[in-house]
């Protein structure tokens, strides 16, 4: 509560200056760009057959803590959700039924993301957050069908906060990503970058260049400095051009070297929100020319929000910003090695920091009869799920609990042998290699994982990690 209070007082100090009006062009361009990118990435996702592979094929789903209650959609509902996602992206782009479109996109996208944490990616989280913010932003006031059709109050201006909150979000991504790189593996050992660069090459000359040890260090340090400072240089008008060139070079490089999908393009687009209103107005003029719309008169309507609305908005923004700042630091609540236990790893903008591979063997033992059998993970998980589960403690526990459910009071037949399980205990032996160090024991076979609850407390059942 003090957080909220101090946030409100912080904005009051500035006399609600975040409510002063600025050009609506940046927000309009942002809306169109975001809508188009989401349209493209959703279609790409479907056309790669990933709806089937990632959401329909798996028989078991690794739900997120606190979202276990979410119903799992049938295949036809899944495809419907993706169709609605496309509709949402189109409506956002056009600025038609904008708020409905943004809400639709946010809900369908986020719901699908929450179905299975196997598929967690920082950039999906970023998209969810931006989509959520977009619902509340007046991005349809200008250069939109809503404005043109009189479905909302057309205006050339928007409150400053609607631009600043997007800038804040992008700043959070970069700065936290930069802070996360301030650790020994990245800076002192240049890992996992060194091995990745070594094996990523495909072209003879570039390959030999990327193999050089100093290159890995240069990339590691440059990447860290880039993440920490890029927002600052994008904010200063004098350095903006060069900063944006750095954005392009940096993200194109990651796109060429690593299989990270549309993320580079999302960031190259997202950072344009730091550009001047003048720049965005130019883009709108070009867009108007392309679609042949030269007649729409500019509108100078300026709305004056009530004091009450200002207070509510400020409180809302304050809470949002607080959450975003606190969340990446939640790992400090735990003693274990962050990379090993991964407690507080997700939703913290930790990108490309780990190369982790594991080998997990599960054993189910019936407490009553004492019979024990080794589990074939493949019988329950897709290869991708198995890979992800083998290194992430919470997923190991979830899978163990799933096995307990499957084996409880059941006769399992394997190779013609009937095995009767009444009270299954689940044990696992898990070995994990992390950032070029030889593999170490992560889960010892002595723990009955069925008896350990999956919660936010310290993961004492993990064997300690020796760096």
């Amino acid at each position: 509560m003090t957080g909220i209070k101090s946030a409100i007082s912080f904005f009051k100090l500035r006399n609600f200056s975040w409510f002063k009006t600025v050009s609506a062009a940046p927000l309009a361009v942002y809306r169109i760009g975001f809508g188009l990118l989401m349209l493209f990435s959703t279609i790409r996702f479907i056309s790669k057959g990933w709806v089937q592979e990632i959401y329909i094929d798996p028989a078991f789903h690794f739900s997120y803590y606190g979202f276990e209650w979410l119903p799992y959609p049938t295949p036809s509902v899944l495809y419907l959700l993706f169709a609605l996602m496309i509709l949402g992206a189109v409506l956002i782009t056009l600025g038609l039924f904008y708020r409905f479109g943004a809400t639709l996109f946010f809900l369908t996208f986020t719901y699908v993301e929450l179905l299975d944490k196997t598929n967690y990616l920082n950039h999906y989280y970023f998209v969810s957050l931006i989509a959520f913010l977009m619902i509340w932003l007046p991005a349809n006031r200008y250069f939109s069908l809503d404005a043109k059709l009189g479905r909302c109050t057309a205006s050339d201006s928007v409150p400053l906060w609607s631009i600043r909150i997007l800038q804040f979000q992008i700043a959070a991504v970069y700065i936290f990503a930069g802070i996360a790189k301030l650790e020994t593996d990245w800076l002192i050992h240049a890992q996992p970058l060194k091995y990745w660069l070594h094996t990523a090459h495909h072209w003879e000359y570039i390959g030999n260049f990327l193999k050089q040890e100093w290159v890995a260090y240069a990339f590691a340090w440059a990447g860290c400095i880039y993440d920490l400072t890029i927002v600052l240089f994008l904010s200063i008008q004098k350095t903006r051009k060069f900063a944006y060139m750095a954005v392009i070079v940096f993200h194109l490089m990651t796109w060429l070297l690593f299989p990270i999908g549309v993320f580079p393009w999302v960031m190259m687009f997202a950072t344009t929100i730091f550009f001047s209103a003048h720049f965005h107005e130019k883009i709108i003029r070009i867009l108007k020319k392309i679609i042949g719309d030269t007649k729409t008169p500019s509108s100078v309507v300026v709305s004056f929000p009530s004091q009450r609305l200002k207070k509510v908005t400020t409180a809302f923004l304050g809470v949002y910003i607080m959450i975003q700042i606190i969340l990446p630091f939640r790992y400090l609540l735990y003693e274990g090695d962050l990379f090993w236990s991964e407690q507080g790893y997700r939703f913290s903008w930790r990108v490309m920091l780990m190369e982790k591979s594991g080998h997990a063997t599960f054993y189910v033992k019936d407490k009553k009869s004492g019979i024990q059998t080794e589990v074939e993970n493949r019988d329950f998980l897709t290869p991708n799920q198995e890979k992800m589960m083998s290194t992430q403690p919470d997923m190991i526990l979830q899978f163990a609990h799933h096995l307990e459910d499957v084996y409880r009071d059941t006769v399992i037949t394997q190779y013609g042998v009937d095995m009767k399980f009444e009270e299954p205990e689940v044990y696992a032996e898990v070995y994990v290699a992390l950032n070029a160090r030889p593999h170490q024991l992560m889960v010892d076979k002595k723990h009955n994982l069925a008896a350990i609850s999956n919660d936010l407390t310290e993961r004492n059942w993990l064997s300690p990690y020796n760096r």
């Binding site: 996992p192 091995y195 990745w196 070594h198 094996t199 990523a200 495909h202 003879e204 000359y205 570039i206 030999n208 260049f209 193999k211 050089q212 040890e213 290159v215 060069f242 299989p259 190369e355 982790k356 591979s357 594991g358 080998h359 063997t361 019979i371 024990q372 059998t373 080794e374 074939e376 493949r378 897709t382 290869p383 198995e386 890979k387 083998s390 394997q414 190779y415 013609g416 042998v417 095995m419 070995y431 994990v432 290699a433 992390l434 070029a436 030889p438 593999h439």
Partner: protein, 357 residues
């Protein structure tokens, strides 16, 4: 120094370093590794298996023409030697080999003797049908030639009521194996160039393919050859008839040969292989090298498998300690591959397949 000249300096030094190949340590190139694997490891293993199957079929024809103890022993020798060869080529199960389903048709065990006998007595069957997958291939020959003592086996091909049908069944199986394999081998020569050309490290690259089949084959060694017969997957109940080569009792021989084949696959024979690739990525400072660890583990696995004694179908009952020790060491080998090797080479475990060899 202004930003422009800094940029220029960066570009120039980039080009200088990029072109300065002499400064590199020993050259490693995935394309060269794939070429070596294709020409010096995979292809010879295919050719050898192909020759074995040609000779196996001709021995089967000779035997059925005049079934004597002598011709039976020639055939048995040919069978063992083909089964051993199979351990060298089966982990290269991609491209045409995969398309033709060679691996499953050749060695899905245990053989279903009821189906085999009913096929023989009826004399009508489609060997390629799904239901006959456990009635064909090496396990079926294993049953036909070794199911009982020499005299009884000879009788089954000479004086028994179904002797004629049994002879036909035997040669039908050997002919099917020979023809299918020859077909896949001839298709391989077209596929080979594609295999070498896919020299990236993405999911569809040949390096990933090779790696996945390699790991999968070690898992088969662990599960199909040892773990399942030992009862580790069936609540501790041993399943002696699940061993490979149950009737001929050559399970341990086959397991040891499989380790030889896998070691060869890892080291690329005497040329460029995963071993060189790992050393190239590790650099010189990593000691002991993962390569040494994995090769030492192969040796240890071989020793532990030998220590089980033969036949495995009895030893799973009488020497369970040695069996579990061998199993544990092979499991460690899987761990090395799925953790350290996968991480070092940045390769993903991607396969999705069912059990069976």
């Amino acid at each position: 120094m202004n930003i422009k000249s800094l940029f220029l300096l960066g570009t120039v030094s980039f080009i200088v370093f990029a072109c300065n190949k002499d400064e590199d340590k020993e050259e490693f190139d995935r394309g060269a590794m794939l070429t070596n694997m294709a020409s010096a490891v995979i292809e010879p293993s295919y050719t050898e298996m192909n020759n074995q199957l040609i000779s196996l079929h001709s021995s089967a024809v000779d035997f059925t023409a005049s079934p004597t103890a002598a011709s039976l022993n020639v055939l048995k020798d040919g069978f063992v030697s083909a089964y051993l060869s199979f351990q060298h080529c089966k982990m290269y199960n991609f491209g045409p080999m995969m398309d033709y389903g060679v691996k499953n048709a050749m060695n899905t065990y245990p053989a279903d003797t009821a189906i085999i006998e009913s096929n023989i007595s009826s004399g009508s069957y489609t060997l390629g049908s799904v239901s006959n997958i456990t009635a064909i291939g090496l396990p079926a020959i294993d049953y036909l030639l070794y199911t009982s003592d020499e005299v009884t086996v000879l009788n089954s091909f000479t004086v028994d009521a179904n002797a004629g049908n049994r002879k036909t069944y035997l040669t039908d199986i050997t002919q099917k194996m020979k023809e299918e394999y020859a077909l896949a081998v001839s298709a391989w020569s077209n596929y080979k160039a594609d295999f070498i050309a896919a020299d990236g490290n993405d999911v569809s690259s040949s390096t990933t393919l090779l790696f996945n089949e390699f790991v999968k084959d070690i898992e088969l060694l662990k599960n199909a050859k040892i773990g399942i017969p030992a009862g580790y997957k069936s609540g501790g109940q041993v399943l002696p008839d699940y061993v490979e080569g149950y009737y001929s009792q050559i399970s341990i021989l086959l397991a040891k040969e499989s380790i030889v084949g896998l070691t060869n696959a890892f080291n690329g024979g005497t040329g460029l292989g995963f071993d060189d690739y790992i050393k190239d990525v590790e650099g010189e400072e990593v000691s002991p090298s993962l390569v040494d660890n994995i090769n030492a583990q192969f040796t240890l696995c071989d020793q532990k498998v030998s220590a089980i004694g033969t036949p495995l179908s009895e030893k799973v009952n009488t020497n369970s300690t040695a069996v579990s020790e061998a199993y544990a060491e092979i499991k460690k080998l899987v761990t090395y591959c799925k953790t350290d090797m996968s991480s070092t080479l940045g390769l993903l475990i991607t396969y999705q397949d069912n059990d069976g060899d």
